[in-house]
Every structure is written in structure tokens, then in C-alpha cells.
């Protein structure tokens, strides 16, 4: 009930992100979601793709440092308070949110949040109690 995120180390210099996305496009890799975190001199680009194995092979061959992390992807109803309810639920259960970002699935006409928490199992259990079920990686292909 998790999806695999690829995180890539990039130097914080003009053109470095474009170099990276060029590598993906040259290999026909389509991103479902992407987020960028930056420090003064470096950044971490995080992406969700359908075929993690293929993408990580391409990224590795291009000489990038990367890691694969399991994160939660949760479908959000498009209504006020939807995000708050989920975050509140995690907060009330002492689950810290390290970072999050959003993507949409046009075919399904819905929005998804990617959540990074220290303990996926605990978060899945807490969310499950309220009937919220994170999607798994195979679900992405259907979207």
C-alpha cells in the first residue's frame, strides 16, 4: 500500500534540473509526480514514475546519486477540509510528516497527495481505521 519514489541528488546550479529531465525524456520516462527540495548548494528532486526499475536504471546509468523510498499516495476528494482531516489524523497519532506534494490523475479526475512519514506501517494502520487506504504502485498504472 505504498508507492516507490525515486529521489535524486542535484547540484543547485542553472541547467542541472533540465539536464536531469532531459535524461528522463530521452528515455521516454513519464513522470506522474515531481517535487523539488532545495538547500543552498544542492537540491533533491523526487519523482513518481510507473516503472521504477526502468527509471532507476536510466538514472543510475546517467551517473546520478539516487535512492528509492516507499511513500504513501492518498486519494483526496476535491472538497474543503479533505487534506486537513488526513493531516490532523496523522498529527493526533504522533506521526510526523517529513514532506508532501500533490499530483492529479486526469483519467480518474482525482487528486493525490504523496506523504512521507517515518513509519509507513503505523500511518497505514491509523488511516485504515478511518477507512482511508493509500494506493499501491500498481494502481498508478491504471490512472
Amino acid at each position: 500500500m505504498t508507492v516507490k519514489q525515486i529521489s535524486v541528488f542535484l547540484e543547485n546550479k542553472p541547467g542541472k534540473l533540465a539536464d536531469f529531465t532531459d535524461v528522463l525524456s530521452a528515455n521516454g520516462i513519464d513522470m506522474r509526480a515531481m517535487s523539488l527540495a532545495e538547500a543552498a548548494d544542492f537540491g533533491i528532486v523526487r519523482i513518481i514514475v510507473d516503472d521504477v526499475y526502468n527509471a532507476s536504471t536510466v538514472i543510475k546509468d546517467a551517473g546520478y546519486i539516487f535512492s528509492i523510498t516507499k511513500v504513501l499516495a492518498i486519494e483526496m476528494p476535491d472538497e474543503p477540509g479533505a487534506l486537513s482531516r488526513i493531516i490532523r489524523l496523522l498529527g493526533d497519532n504522533e506521526i510526523n510528516l517529513e514532506y508532501m506534494y500533490a499530483f492529479t490523475a486526469p483519467k480518474k479526475n482525482s487528486a493525490y497527495m504523496i506523504l512521507r512519514v517515518p513509519d509507513n506501517e503505523k500511518a497505514i494502520e491509523v488511516l485504515g481505521r478511518k477507512g482511508i487506504r493509500p494506493v499501491c504502485h500498481d494502481d498508478l498504472v491504471e490512472m
Partner: protein, 435 residues
């Protein structure tokens, strides 16, 4: 007071100087033979006894001593006098594993201060002057050396130490400082600050004595223009005594070595062969009058050229150029000695690859050092805070090793060019060495 602090010494004939040197060298060699085991051992290994050293011409027979020897003999191995006769220590700017502690008897302190006094008088100093000393005080020799020299000249001495620019400028204007002693980069910074505050017309400086780091002619002209002074260079090293081993006169064409105390030689750093005047090589000093911590043929690693040409200032002592480079890979950053090997040690200890690059620059007249390190899969994570924490850990470890802040820049694997043969570890953008 005239143009010289000790005219009979500073303008003595070169024959006279050689006579003093020979007599003092013979005495010093007997002294170290009797009192410092490492010298005796090295001389015995070279098949020498004190009887082989009859004059300054025999100096070249003697083995060299290096900074590594000083480190190995730390702290007391090179002492030639009992500690009860020593009154002071000073220490090099101090990088772990390379610290050198030098000992002084009262006689040693006096001769060092005399050398500084000669430099102050050469810069036009008299008992009428107000000498503002903004070198660091403490283990660093800059402050104590010039302070003592200023006392000997009879200047009103302002022992400011370094930093606190606001207070420096206030004392400079309120007390009418006429001579400024500090590092050239701090002089440039002070000059700018004085202009920014619009108090240029309130300062009375006429001369500056700037040393402890490399500086260019452009920098000299810039400081001279901004402050309306004449800027003099001064050279020295803790191992030999401190600032004042050599100093510039009004000709500003090389620094006169205080040859009655220190014999200067220039050698081929590869073969050890002594080079004639005008040839570039490694500077080697022998302290012939020091009591507590005499060094015989100490290799400074500074590259320079000597000349015995007559100087129109009237001083007869040999002149050396500013250091034109180093014969090892030592960098001087913010006055602190930095060896790339120290940085490499930290990286390896922290699990980083030994492929790194050090970039030294000077921004707003202040030295900066950046260490570029290649990212590894082990160091990487999807969490920015985790990577930043690792980066900070490395910054702290470098600070502990070097004593100064070095910026860490994490770069992509293979971002640092692999050169064929010897890797280019250091890029010094300061361009301080000329010639």
C-alpha cells in the same frame, strides 16, 4: 632617532656581517651539539662534528631540519635551554598535528622585538608615533612581536588585537594613530570601512606594516591610495622568532633579512643544493643567536629569491623577495596554515571519497575556503534535513581540524575532474603570488 634602529648593525659591511655570522654559527653549532640530541644525531649521521663548522661557508655541510621534525620533537625535543630559563612560548596558527611551539628566553624575546623595532623604524617610526597593532595577540606572534618592537622604538603603543572594526577606527581617529600594523587583508578592510564612514579626513596614519599573509602590488597600491600611507611588508615565522625576520625599507624592493640573527639561504628544494643570488628556490633559515629554540637550516617551504645588491636605503643586509609560492602544498587561509592532507583525513574519516577539490578565494578582502566533495549513495537520502545534517557534520569536523570555517559543497559524482597523473586538489583564485 635616525633612519635606522641599530645603524651600526643595519649598515655594517657585508664582510662584517659574515664575520658575525661565522662566529655566532660556530657557537650555535657547539650549543646544539651539546644540548639538542636530534641535532647531534643528525650531524653524526652526516659524519660531522662541531669542529667541521669553522665559518658560514661550512653551513652547507649541515643537514636540514623540517616542519615534520619540529612536529616529531613536539613539545620539548628542540629545547636548547632548561625550561627554567625560558620566559615565553608562541605557537603557529595551529592546525591539528602540525602545531609548533617555540620557546623564548628573555634574550630571545629581546632580539625578536629588536628585529620588529628595526622594521618600525624602517617604516618611518619614531618615539613621536602612535602605533596601532591589530594583529592577534596571544599564541600568534603578530601582536606580541610588533608590540614589543613598538615599545623598543618608544612609540605610543595601542595593543588593539584583531577585529572590532568600529573600535579600531574610533581609537585611530581619537588617538591619532600614525602607524598601522595588521594583515594586509585587514588593512584593506579597514580602509574600506574608513571610507564608508566618511572619516578619511580624521585619520593621521602615515605608514602601515603588513604581513602574515601574501599580498599583491595591486593590493599595496589600493591600501596606500585609500589610506594615504606608505605600506611596508614584513616577513617572519614563529619557528624562527616571529614577524621581523625580514622587513621592507622605504625602497619597497624586497625585505632585508636581519642577518646578524638569521642566516638566509636559498636552495633547490629537490636537491638541497644552495643556489646563488637571483635564483629562485626554497628559503632556509638558521637562527644563530636564539638561545631556547635554535633552528639550524630550517626549511621554510617558502619559495623566494635573495639579493645582496646594494640598497639605496643604506642597509647592507641581504634582501629577499616576497614569497613567490610554496614548495609544499600548504595554503595560508585567513592567516591559518591549511594542508590538503588534513582535509582529506576528515573526508575519509567521515566516509566520503578522497576525490575532492579545495577552492580558495578572496571575497571583499577576506579569504574563503570551499571544499567540494562528491556525493555518495551512502550519504544520500530523500530527506533534505538528513543530507543537510551530514553536510553540517562535515563542516564541524573540518572546523575542528583546520581551526577555521570551510564551506562544504556537495557535488555530483564525477563532477570533480579526474586529471591524468597528479590530481588538481587546490584551486587558489586569489592569485597572490607574483613573479
Amino acid at each position: 632617532m635616525g633612519r635606522y634602529f641599530q645603524p651600526e648593525i643595519e649598515t655594517a659591511s657585508q664582510e662584517q656581517i659574515r664575520e658575525w655570522q661565522s662566529e655566532r654559527l660556530v657557537r650555535q653549532i657547539q650549543n646544539v651539539w651539546d644540548n639538542v640530541p636530534i641535532y647531534r644525531k643528525r650531524m653524526e649521521e652526516a659524519g660531522l662534528t662541531p669542529a667541521d663548522i669553522q665559518s658560514v661557508d661550512d653551513l652547507k655541510k649541515l643537514p636540514f631540519i623540517t616542519k615534520d621534525d619540529l612536529r616529531d620533537e613536539y613539545p620539548f625535543g628542540l629545547l636548547a635551554r632548561p625550561l627554567s630559563e625560558c620566559v615565553r612560548i608562541q605557537s603557529t596558527s595551529g592546525t591539528t598535528g602540525r602545531r609548533v611551539v617555540a620557546f623564548y628566553t628573555q634574550h630571545d624575546v629581546d632580539l625578536w622585538e629588536e628585529c620588529c623595532a628595526r622594521a618600525i623604524v624602517a617604516a618611518g617610526g619614531t618615539e613621536e608615533d602612535v602605533c596601532q597593532i591589530c594583529y592577534g595577540y596571544g599564541l600568534f606572534t603578530g601582536g606580541p612581536g610588533l608590540n614589543g618592537g613598538s615599545h623598543k622604538v618608544g612609540c605610543l603603543t595601542l595593543p588593539m588585537s584583531s577585529g572590532n572594526t568600529e573600535r579600531q577606527i574610533q581609537f585611530m581617529t581619537d588617538l591619532g594613530s600614525t602607524i598601522l600594523c595588521c594583515t594586509p587583508s585587514y588593512a584593506a578592510y579597514l580602509a574600506e570601512s574608513i571610507h564608508e564612514r566618511g572619516v578619511r579626513d580624521q585619520i593621521r596614519l602615515k605608514a602601515g606594516i603588513f604581513g602574515a599573509e601574501a599580498w599583491t602590488e595591486e593590493m599595496r597600491h589600493d591600501i596606500e591610495d585609500k589610506l594615504g600611507i606608505k605600506a611596508y611588508d614584513i616577513y617572519g615565522l614563529t619557528e624562527i622568532s616571529g614577524p621581523g625576520v625580514s622587513f621592507e625599507c622605504s625602497e619597497q624592493r624586497g625585505m632585508h633579512v636581519n642577518e646578524d640573527h638569521f642566516i638566509a639561504e636559498v636552495i633547490n628544494p629537490k636537491t638541497g643544493e644552495v643556489l646563488p643570488d637571483g635564483e629562485k628556490g626554497e628559503l632556509v633559515f638558521t637562527s644563530i643567536t636564539k638561545e631556547a629554540f635554535p633552528l639550524i637550516r630550517y626549511r621554510t617551504r617558502d619559495i623566494c629569491i635573495l639579493t645582496h645588491e646594494k640598497c639605496s636605503c643604506g642597509r647592507t643586509h641581504v634582501r629577499m623577495t616576497k614569497p613567490l609560492g610554496r614548495s609544499d602544498d600548504m595554503l595560508i587561509v585567513k592567516g591559518v596554515n591549511v594542508f590538503p592532507s588534513q582535509i582529506e583525513t576528515v573526508l575519509i574519516n567521515k566516509g566520503y571519497p578522497a576525490n575532492y577539490q579545495i577552492i580558495v578565494d578572496r571575497v571583499n578582502n577576506s579569504d574563503t575556503i570551499e571544499v567540494q566533495v562528491e556525493m555518495t549513495p551512502e550519504m544520500f537520502s530523500d530527506s533534505l534535513s538528513a543530507v543537510s545534517a551530514k553536510e553540517k557534520e562535515l563542516v564541524d569536523a573540518l572546523k575542528a581540524m583546520l581551526g577555521i570555517y570551510a564551506k562544504v559543497k556537495l557535488v555530483n559524482p564525477k563532477a570533480i575532474t579526474r586529471s591524468e597523473g597528479k590530481a588538481v586538489r587546490v584551486i587558489d583564485k586569489r592569485n597572490l603570488y607574483q613573479g
